[in-house]
Every structure is written in C-alpha cells, then in structure tokens.
C-alpha cells in the first residue's frame, strides 16, 4: 500500500497512511505516516470503540497539518485494549493464507 500512496501523491493528491508497521512504511519514503501499535486488520480500534477511532482519526489530521515535507511520522500513544496473547492469536485468519501455507509446507520439507 505504500506504493499506492506514492502513486496517488505523485499525481498531486496528499495522503496520510495509518499503519500498524510504520518502520516498514518509512522504507518507502512516504509523505505522512501515522503508526498504531494495534493488531493487523484493526487500524482504528476495536468494534464500537468510537473514542479510540476518533483518537486515531485526530492523529491523522494532526499529521496532515504538521507535516512540512516527506518522511513525517507520528506514532499514536495508545495501548491496545486487549491482552497481547489474545490479540496476537485473534488477528490471524482461521486457516493460514495460501502463501503462508506454502512456506510452512516448504519448511516441513513437503
């Protein structure tokens, strides 16, 4: 998705990317990045938690206003409201994705 952001930005539309992996996003020389220490598939929070969603949305607004040039990063200082072990387990799909299944098969020599 950083590549898509770069393409859109190069065509004149400013972007801000809200990501769980800001370290990786920064390697694509982005314009504006907001980092959240949240499990995948949950950029803005947990279901029904409008306060948390608004906190992240406000950080995106702050990034849009503060950034004076490319490479801007703002991390949101919010702890995920679910214990780590549960959050780690539950963001994964019920069955491994095709590429992960293939990698596991290779690793097992299959």
């Amino acid at each position: 998705m950083p590549v898509l952001a770069r393409t859109i930005e190069s065509l004149g539309i400013p972007t801000v990317t809200v990501t769980m992996i800001p370290d990786l996003a920064m390697k694509f020389r982005p314009s504006r990045v907001v980092g959240v220490e949240f499990p995948f598939g949950h950029n803005f929070g947990t279901p029904g938690n409008d306060e948390l969603m608004l906190t992240v949305a406000r950080a995106a607004c702050q990034a849009l206003e503060e950034a004076g040039g490319p490479g801007y990063r703002l991390d949101v200082d919010v702890e995920w409201p679910v214990p780590l072990e549960t959050a780690y387990r539950t963001w994964h799909p019920p069955v491994p994705s095709p590429i992960v299944a293939e990698m596991l098969k290779r690793r097992q020599g299959g």
């Binding site: 539309i13 990501t19 370290d23 949950h42 950029n43 969603m53 949305a57 849009l64």
Partner: protein, 166 residues
C-alpha cells in the same frame, strides 16, 4: 514515543520486513491544497471488503492457485454503508471484528464526527477498498489502479486521501 512495529508479527516476518531496503526512488510530496478544515477527505482500506449484495468478491480463488498473486482491483464503498452490507475476501487477516464494525478499518463515523465539528471540510461520498496482499512488483497498482483512482478522486473533488493498510 515510538511504537513497536512488529509486536503482532511472528519473529520470521519481523526479520523479513527489517531486511527490506529503503526504496531507491525519491520521496513523493503533495502539500495540502488548502487548510484541512476546508478539505474533502476520502478513506481507503486494504482489508478486501466489498458490498455483499452488489459487488464481486476479490479473486481469492486465483490467489489460492497462485499464492504469490493478489487481486489488484478495488471496490467503491459508499459513505452510508452499514456493517451488515459488508463482506470480506482477505485471506491474511481475521474478518470477525471488521464484519462486526467496518469502522475498525474504514472509520466513517470518526471522520463524520470530525466533519461535524469542522476539523475537516467534508467527508467524501465514496471510499475505496483494495485487497492488501499483492504481487511484489505491484505493477498494476503503479500503472493502472493508482492513476485510475487519482483521476477519480480529482473528479470527485477529493483533496486528501487517508490510506489504512490492513
């Protein structure tokens, strides 16, 4: 503060992501065309969501046959979408929470609130869904969907795009 980008990833993936080199291309930069409280904002997710009754799912059957391929197309999600209208075809994340409340990946309520309080000018009438798992070269996004989407955003007078890679 700096967050831990790899907190929710297996160690092997952390190693893989940490070894990704910095892109050998210049940074892209478009300034805000006007103050944010006058800007129209559109949202994009890569959670692979679509409208269950009127849109095709993303092509996960081909991804199952070709595990390094991902469907590069996108779907248009209207601002008045309800979570019960949504289905998801992303094979790399759990669908449970985003099907319960689509705003966890496409924060329409939050940005409607920011529109109401005058923090942004307007929330656009349509938003965008991609499937985040893609062929590594990303040629389609660079050459087809990216320019197509930029043209559509301009047509709809969108000033800012927020991207939320799932």
């Amino acid at each position: 503060m700096t967050i831990d980008s790899y907190k929710y990833l297996p160690r092997s993936m952390r190693t893989m992501y940490e070894s990704v080199p910095v892109i050998d291309e210049p940074a892209e930069w478009a300034p805000l065309p006007k103050p944010l409280h006058h800007c129209t904002v559109a949202l994009m997710t890569s959670a692979g969501i679509y409208l269950r009754d009127s849109q095709e799912p993303f092509d996960v059957e081909r991804e199952r046959r070709e595990p390094t391929w991902g469907d590069p197309t996108y779907r248009i999600i209207p601002r008045d979408v309800r979570s019960e209208d949504i289905a998801c075809s992303h094979l790399h994340i759990s669908h449970d929470d985003l099907l319960e409340d689509v705003d966890v990946v496409l924060p329409i309520r939050a940005f409607s609130a920011l529109e109401a309080e005058g923090r942004i000018g307007r929330l656009a009438d349509e938003h965008y869904s991609f499937m985040g798992y893609q062929d590594r070269r990303l040629l389609d996004w660079r050459n087809i969907q990216g320019p197509e989407l930029a043209a559509r955003l301009k047509e709809h007078a969108v000033d800012v795009l927020l991207l939320a890679p799932a």
